[in-house]
């Protein structure tokens, strides 16, 4: 029962608590694939098109993990998750473009961009969360969907420029009233251009690890138990003194902040950033939800695997041309059946029992 014994250095793996062991396997899996792909790309064994997938895959993994916190751990359906990514992406890019000449050290500027974006997305999460989290189930889903769209639309109509007098904000270029020396940073539907392309696979990997660390540790703590108790039985959670609103808002905020960081990773991988339905609209929100549901609600490792496979597949299947989406759909269906079909669930249970009894026999011998 003593958690201090859970450090891998002190005890054999057999004495680890099941959750700790599960988390360590997830970390190991992520590190293994990072090293594998990093070596492949360093030795030139990875095609250019495939190399270009590495950062976006990290982005979708982070998005999937953060959405899983809301949908799988808290048990509330949110369909506007891409909206927070949008806020993070634009705030991060805005910051980087503004500071390009002021802060020349890349990693300092990028770290600050991550912090700015996380804070901005978290504030948006709180502002949206306060009214929205009074709702439940389908209603919550509909309203979050709307907020996601609103964020995207607002970004598309905003013009922000800077000149010697400071910032100018308007709804069109004409109203901006910039001095001749001024420069438009956010240009309405044309978005932000000239973001330094600072995102690398290494940064993506670090961000995935940080996300994993925050989310898994959160789940395995007093706060995490409170959150899961709300998911399992709201009335009982209230009856043992858990403040439902507080924890819902907390989860929403943490999840939004992480999504904001994913946005920075995304925007610093492109030279020009625009908000469209495909990258920040409901298409994206639904896509992330698909990763979460197929990976398993509340299952962080599942989210990582599903996000990787499902993001990379359409690109890897490009060679199949017209059959691409057909095969993609079949794979989706097969994943769904293998994950949730009663036959496969039973098969997995039987296998795990067998594995466990096998281990016990060995220990006895």
């Amino acid at each position: 029962m003593d958690r201090k014994n859970n450090s891998p250095l002190e005890k054999k793996s057999s004495s680890l608590r099941p959750t700790t062991k599960k988390n360590l396997i997830t970390y190991a899996m992520v590190i293994f694939f990072f090293v594998l792909f990093q070596t492949l790309s360093a030795t030139g064994n990875l095609k250019h098109a495939h190399k270009a997938l590495l950062v976006p895959v990290c982005t979708s993994i982070i998005m999937a993990i953060s959405l899983n916190l809301v949908v799988g751990v808290l048990g509330e359906l949110s369909l506007g998750h891409a909206g927070f990514m949008c806020i993070g992406a634009f705030c991060g890019s805005f910051f980087s473009v503004l500071m390009k000449d002021v802060i020349t050290t890349t990693w300092i500027r990028l770290t600050l961009a991550f912090i700015v974006a996380a804070v901005a997305a978290a504030v948006a999460g709180i502002l949206i969360g306060i009214p929205v989290l009074r709702l439940k189930g389908d209603y919550l889903a509909i309203v979050t969907l709307a907020f996601g769209e609103i964020i995207k639309t607002v970004v598309n109509t905003l013009y922000i420029g800077k000149d010697a007098n400071g910032f100018h904000i308007a709804m069109s270029t004409a109203n901006l009233g910039l001095e001749p020396d001024g420069k438009i940073i956010l240009n309405g539907p044309q978005g932000i251009s000239g973001t330094p392309k600072n995102s690398t696979f290494v940064i993506g990997f670090i961000l995935v690890m940080i996300t994993l660390f925050i989310v898994t540790n959160l789940m395995d703590s007093r706060t995490g138990r409170a959150i899961m108790s709300i998911r399992d039985n709201r009335i009982a959670a209230e009856s043992v003194g858990i403040d439902i609103t507080k924890y819902k808002l907390l989860v929403f905020t943490i999840s939004a902040a992480i999504a904001g960081c994913a946005g920075v990773l995304y925007s610093h991988n492109l030279s020009s950033l625009t908000a469209t339905t495909n990258n920040f609209g409901y298409n994206m929100s639904i896509m992330i939800l698909v990763y979460v549901v197929l990976g398993g609600l509340g299952n962080i490792r599942g989210s990582i695997i599903a996000a990787t496979v499902l993001y990379a597949l359409p690109e890897l299947l490009r060679g199949l041309k017209d059959y691409r989406m057909l095969i993609y759909a079949i794979i989706l269906i097969v994943m769904m059946i293998v994950n949730n079909g009663s036959y496969f669930v039973q098969l997995r249970e039987r296998l795990s029992i067998k594995l466990k009894s096998g281990k016990n026999k060995k220990e006895v011998a």
Partner: protein, 252 residues
Amino acid sequence: MALLEVKNLGITFGGLHAVDNFNLTLEKGDLYGLIGPNGAGKTTVFNLLTGVYKPTTGTFYLDGHELKGKKPAEINKAGIARTFQNIRLFKNLSVLDNVKVGLHNEMKYSTFEGIFRLPRYFSTEKKMNARAMELLDVFDLSENADTLASNLPYGKQRKLEIARAIATQPKLLLLDEPAAGMNPNETKELMETIHFVRDNFELTVLVIEHDMNLVAGICEQITVLNFGTELAKGKTEDVLKNPEVIKAYLGE
């Protein structure tokens, strides 16, 4: 001073007086029964006392503090814990974690300390585990500590609910049909446990029950509800002999 004082408590749903003019005074350490035929409003009284429903009339005090209109979480923090007629466990959490959720407001560390595993996380978790195991021991559940709550047999689920409620360190424990679905042996064991818990954790217990053996066996005093109003009140053996009560239960 009385521990719980309920004055003229009532609630109407539409035109229906689900509970009307309900009065109750519990002294510290009482083991009190609330009985009545189906639909008499017993669980509604519990829901009023735990803040699930807001009373339309009347009020109630715990240790002199008025709790009317407070939220369920606040009422729990003030010292009232309950179990449910239809069991409400955290099904996807382990038995141990269910009790640890109950300890949520007793042993604290911040979310930040939890995520970054600061020293207080380890010391508090250690204390929580020890305390939770102690409680599980009382209810004979320590062997099942790592089982998922939904995989427990029915009788143990009921016990776990009580353990979770006690973990919140209440002054007053409300048990809603704790013996429902138990066989006579389990009921007998439960009666002993309730006695033990009352004495050991210095609790006051208010229990709704249909099993007259259990009521006669553990409750010193009872109130009988019928159609939302009080039918009889007093010492258990006297009330159970009351012809009005027998009429309400068995008809004429």
